[in-house]
Symmetry: C2
Subunit: 545 residues, 2 copies
Amino acid sequence: MSEPRALSGYWLRDNCPCADCRDPGNGQKLFQITDLPADLAVQETTERDGHLEVRWTDGHRSRYPLTWLAGATADRDHPRDRPGDHRTEAGKRLWRAADFAAGIPEAHWDAHLADPAERAAVLRAVRHLGFAVLRGVPTEDRQVLAVARTFGHVRVTNYGELFDVRVEPDPNNLAFTSAAITPHTDNPYRDPVPTLQLLHCLENAAEGGDSGLVDGFAAADLLRTEAPEDFALLTRTPVPFAFRDRSTELRAERPLIETDALGRIREIRFNNRSIGTLRLPAADLDAFYAAYRRFAAITLRPELQLAFRLDPGDCLIFDNTRLLHARTAFDGDGRRHLQGCYADLDSLASTLAVLDRHTEALDTLQDLFEGEGAREYLGEAVTQAEHMLQAAALAERDGAPAHLVAAALLHDVGHFHGAVTGAQLMAGTDNRHSHTGADLLARWFGPEVTEPVRLHVAAKRYLCTVEPEYRAALSPASEHTLQVQGGPMGAEEAAAFAALPGAADAVTVRRWDDRAKTADTRTPGFDHFRPLLARLLATAPGEPV
Amino acid sequence: MSEPRALSGYWLRDNCPCADCRDPGNGQKLFQITDLPADLAVQETTERDGHLEVRWTDGHRSRYPLTWLAGATADRDHPRDRPGDHRTEAGKRLWRAADFAAGIPEAHWDAHLADPAERAAVLRAVRHLGFAVLRGVPTEDRQVLAVARTFGHVRVTNYGELFDVRVEPDPNNLAFTSAAITPHTDNPYRDPVPTLQLLHCLENAAEGGDSGLVDGFAAADLLRTEAPEDFALLTRTPVPFAFRDRSTELRAERPLIETDALGRIREIRFNNRSIGTLRLPAADLDAFYAAYRRFAAITLRPELQLAFRLDPGDCLIFDNTRLLHARTAFDGDGRRHLQGCYADLDSLASTLAVLDRHTEALDTLQDLFEGEGAREYLGEAVTQAEHMLQAAALAERDGAPAHLVAAALLHDVGHFHGAVTGAQLMAGTDNRHSHTGADLLARWFGPEVTEPVRLHVAAKRYLCTVEPEYRAALSPASEHTLQVQGGPMGAEEAAAFAALPGAADAVTVRRWDDRAKTADTRTPGFDHFRPLLARLLATAPGEPV
């Protein structure tokens, strides 16, 4: 063993990025941990070309980018401090009501829909602070489901897809009366508990009926500080929660405060209405009730109570594993109607990660255009960036659909050195520019964008075969590269090309490409095309990358 | 304090069943734990009439049935041995493949739909053993969703409502190839993870492609026995699971073996394909990988591998928090098509509990008819049971809808002493027989059954007012009870009665009631009406009870 730093052998091998170990398409591992031999060890390591090359005792060879290795071993001594999957207290901001003296996290519905950055900010607030409010959501029946679908999937329960919170004549739940409701989490009798709740205000003409939120993680953190033994007791006492009506009988036994495998606060269940009968020795019950009452008293401290009013069109989104929600009593004759539904945090986090990935993609492309793109373009009179912007402007002028404007804009992105990332080198990407570019773009865009890019060099060789006048019009530099790229296609190759999906689009892109070499032409900058790219990213289907 | 046994004061008070403390309708608690005074204590206790009566230092009085108290304090010293919410190893049967030598738990789809006992057996197998197979499920697209809806709600994910498991050209998941897949749980990168999975076979003409199951709880139990430190390590090491495609980026950090607050095995996540990069000190990684490999090797032991083939029409339902599923490789040209979806165990358990409640209800009613019902009926020539069966037979002969046949059959159930349960006495039910009967039935039946029962005495007083010839035809015993019940209604009372929901139905039931006093008439027994009652129970809406 001669690792440059202390590395675990099986860990290193489990992370081998080679195409035999990991599907280059979907990134899933192709072997089982039991496939590795029992006596596996590192035979030899070499650092070369920014990689750690490893020869294993079973003959396998692995090649790890040093940048990856640095990231994978950073902070490895402090796992508790890392936010991980963003579900524990680590990396969240625990709050008091006064923290929102300047206002609560909110956004307008229209901005949430139209602007990915605004949408990301709303989702990040839910993850980081536990809640956000959307304003101006149309006060239409079932609209709350549309809100949920902007970041996830509705969790259907025995209440249906959604529930109406208003005064009912024969309520199966205190929520459907005009009584005050102290801070609580919803559905503790469900497991898995809904991790997100949405409440959309359709009408609120009642005197009273204001909303309140308490950061349950902050309350648990106070309990841990003030009475560590009570805190510990609440994390290790399963509490039976129950709900029963004529067609339902739900039951879950979970602690009031759940910690993760590292002891970090992860989930709060708090709802005295539905706590059933604990069956424990009397002394344990005394201790539990003392701890429970202490925790409950903390949740009622005024400095923890954030109060605000939901007006028609407001939709509150909050983390039901962390925040306690409450409402003041209201005049039972006053009209107050909320519609609510449940959803889950994992999908919200996924949506946020993909939005962040899109922002990073657009930033990366913009950097390429504004950095390397300013370099000369293979002997043409324009820079690479000018050439691609011209091609996109021609496509736009021709009324091309968005995916072809994007393909024209990005067709030569494979020329950029910086576009080939460590991750791609890991996956063994070659550097033929059309393929390199298409593979890079496939991380973000669908085949309607990537395939014309992938085929745009082939399209030139195809056009030279089927349109003699096309070849005659090539620029001298383009005629030169034609030879490097394999010359005109033979008849059979041309027929095969024409049958490929995306071939016709590639030919279309190719014609803009060929015309986009005019010196001193004014074209819009990358900024002009960014919204078009953002829309394409948002609608890309969930396919392997 | 003078409790008859050691009882915790706050616990006892938190379980006070009085109508001030607990909503008699929905059973939810009406106070917060912080509403109880800090120095609360028992002032005095008395045992009387099968109850423990408690006077509290704050002046409140509680009354606990001794039968309830005995149940609530039973086994209180051994919480680990109780199945609780049926999600941990406690109360489950851990298995080896040989345990199913005589066959796996299965039922036919038609029986599952038609017979509540069969449906309950299927759900109980999933809860107890982790799986069951339905045979003869129509091989229709999306039928798997209908299977899920027989016991719960479909969990929608980024895959949609359902997913197709068949060979795909550009798979984002190994599942969609023809490769062998070793035992694993699904979607460990999701949190909450789907707790149930369904796989419905539409086609399986492939060579190979057999299904396999492993009891992950049994595997974890073996690890705990053979290598307790490895077991402990796997319960306290969060493992990052990840899934990524162009529109999704899911991540969850959870241990491979999750234990509950009492240290019992509760959830297995096992899927090497989607384990990301652990970031821990090298020595911890060595220890983790040693434990992980040991656990993985146990899951592959032949004696744990249950293998069977899914044929078209088979639908496998299994607990994705417990069972690992696998499939053998198959000929990629062979046609094999499964449709799958996810759902959750809490709804399955609720459905099972309600089915059990219905069985208990029907058994209770049958016992009443066959036991106390054989007693004489208030001076009439028939027994109580004969009277009610005659009323139901008359209703049936008149072509009455099911709910009125049921109301006729059950209208006098309040006369039965045994029908007034401890739970009802707790809630302060009086013993006027129409109300007592309706309240009992409301635990199971909707108002279309209960309200005619509730009003059938009032209907007699009403009819005496509006139909003089009706009163003239009353039996002597019925004329006697009329006086006890308040005599004929005044005009105002009669008008108010007629306006009540269910009043017309009550009058209809009343006429059968009055005619159902013929000695020596042959009527069908309770058994004849049991399927009709079962159907009514199954379709009762989820309203408060």
